[in-house]
Symmetry: C2
Subunit: 450 residues, 2 copies
Amino acid sequence: MPSPTPTRSSHPPGSPSTALLTDKYELTMIRAALADGTADRPCVFEVFARRLPAGRRYGVVGGTGRLLERLEDFRFGEQELAVVADSLDERTTDWLRHFRFTGDIDGYPEGELFFPGSPVLSIRGGFAECVLLETLALSVLNHDSAIASAAARMTSAAHGRPIIEMGSRRTHEEAAVAAARAAYLTGFASTSNVEATRRHGVPSAGTSAHAFTLLHTGPEGPDEASAFRSQVATLGVDTTLLVDTYDISRGVATAIEVAGPELGGVRIDSGDLGVLARQVRSQLDSLGAHRTRIVVSGDLDEYAIAALRAEPVDMYGVGTRLVTGSGAPTAGMVYKLVEVDGIPVAKRSAQKESLPGAKRAVRLHRSSGTAVEEVLLPWSGTLPPEPGLNQRELMVPLVRAGSPVPGPSLSRSRELHESAMVTLPWEGLALSEGEPAVPVRVVPPGSSTG
Amino acid sequence: MPSPTPTRSSHPPGSPSTALLTDKYELTMIRAALADGTADRPCVFEVFARRLPAGRRYGVVGGTGRLLERLEDFRFGEQELAVVADSLDERTTDWLRHFRFTGDIDGYPEGELFFPGSPVLSIRGGFAECVLLETLALSVLNHDSAIASAAARMTSAAHGRPIIEMGSRRTHEEAAVAAARAAYLTGFASTSNVEATRRHGVPSAGTSAHAFTLLHTGPEGPDEASAFRSQVATLGVDTTLLVDTYDISRGVATAIEVAGPELGGVRIDSGDLGVLARQVRSQLDSLGAHRTRIVVSGDLDEYAIAALRAEPVDMYGVGTRLVTGSGAPTAGMVYKLVEVDGIPVAKRSAQKESLPGAKRAVRLHRSSGTAVEEVLLPWSGTLPPEPGLNQRELMVPLVRAGSPVPGPSLSRSRELHESAMVTLPWEGLALSEGEPAVPVRVVPPGSSTG
């Protein structure tokens, strides 16, 4: 069962440099820009997703807090310089040796919703110092936002029932830790991942697996009762027993025989979960175990969770589909130069247009709180007030003159996310494929309201 | 362009403990097993995939080498123990404090092909020491094998043309490094990820992005020529110029004006790549730049690569679809207890059956080398010889009495993978959906050949 959650992420001690988590071309571009005198030109880069994954109605910003931590370790020591030296000249390695990001970053707070074009991050500074952060920023935001966006749909489908994140084994071992964090951000109750508890204070959960039941096999065959007895003796009667190793109704009967009707929970990890949940509930009730919870797991995603809404399920365990973004394993965010020396710029290629000029974002809400439109304005533009609609600034200062602005704890971001979800128009919560729930309007640079 | 490759992975200095990259239930199971006296029962666990991703004809084992490195850092120090102490008793924390894996591990060498049920890893030792490795082993193998399996299809579709891995920005920052390694294992030429070069010796590649061209914008507008001039001055005439920021044929003309017909390459990152490649090739030829290479990138996967086979493309850049496993972001491997004290065991649940008993794997090849069948035998079983078929043992010793057996370098594993691909029946290389290219036959424990 979950343990209490700390309020602030703690940075792992002695973190190694993150500077090489970078695409080589950032470095060769900096070399050329230093040589031709453009390295310090004032620039604005923006991070945004051109579109949401097919049919998704909203995205959730994840990873901002983690990115700011990792940026503090973005330093080139002699070890890092040695790796890149052969494709750089001395001027560039010197520049990297003294590199500290000195610019400003604004962005959507973690947990906020985003839509196509939303400037989730806006980075201002010299060309070289900004372009250098591209890969790390995108890696963190694309991964964590993909997981957060999938997780939010699962939380919403679970309709208040708690979800345990248990997908570590299905994704890269470090991505697993970030996935547990992103899931918690969007309302998951707990995680199986121990490092996520240490690093990010996510409440931990976990009891036992089929292996433990199978371990209790002797020359006379399986001995489920002895496995259950051992687990209850050690972890207490409030533990959750896994009842589907052999026959489920035998498993439930044995569980209550061993633990009594005060047993905390039973877990079912296979089969037709809806049918089984009903059978198991009725069996538990008939044995007097009215308060024994039913935990279900096994290839659950938001659709399967929604399909179980009417069934007597108390808790979900979600793994694979969470850590793989439920079909959308990356958020598709890009990092684009939008302004050079005050001049709006943009690539013109087909299907990959971006909107020139630095932007800020305002969301319009009815007095009920419902979001009706997101407006992207020129950075110093204003939007005339409209009756009955409140304007909400979406971007907050994240870094000022290279220093991170103290930000919210993960628990606080979780609350922010919860309030943001409440502002979605009702159709935004539908799991079916649809359009983005909040339309985005762009006010181009130089227009009357710009 | 690629730099030379070292032959052995170097372990990052001062690696932190990997022991908490673990699901909590491994620890609570160990606690219960220590209490009831089953913790040291001799066990065999196996890692296998029940099935390949829909329509895939083979899988590629990736991550074995990386897993063995990470296992060496699987140690509980006081810091790690403090995190887990509240759900454990003193006996368990003491056991963890002194934990060293003392068992044996055998498995498929990295780069080898696998099929449904292939025992990719076989772990033998006491229950507690084996169950503890479950999450880390699965995380590494599921991620790296998913990427390797997708990458192999891309390599095969590219038909000898080199592929640059450039997907770092679309996946978790640490998964990116592992993805670059897995792609190289299966034949990719190089990576954009600098840390993959340091950590695994993958050759590096990268020149410049649209931002560099856009940076060269003045009050009079875009100045592509000045961006190209700067890049050529700094990186040399063998560099690759990105020609699609504005108009591609103007871009190509400018590139050759600036660099001359000796220009190394041009990259096209958007649009209809086949049509554009033909146009650009003919334009380059008309300008005398017969040896200037054409690099294409932009949402490529194995199908898009195959569709470009007849076009004048010299090199591919692949990003998103590689790091997300081209639709299959996890390999679906599980870690199952198959034997306790010499007794074969298995869960009996629907759709999640596993095959009881420790297994070893033999692949049968015709004298031409083509693989025709994979046979899973009881651990000490033998297979009677069949005329015209050679038996090849698939599993190699990876760990003996807790110590890693010195293994092949990544370059050597890359060669092994290349030879394994040659043994696939011809239909195995088809990109279309199909059955596993090599059928797997199971000889159950106790049968006559067992």
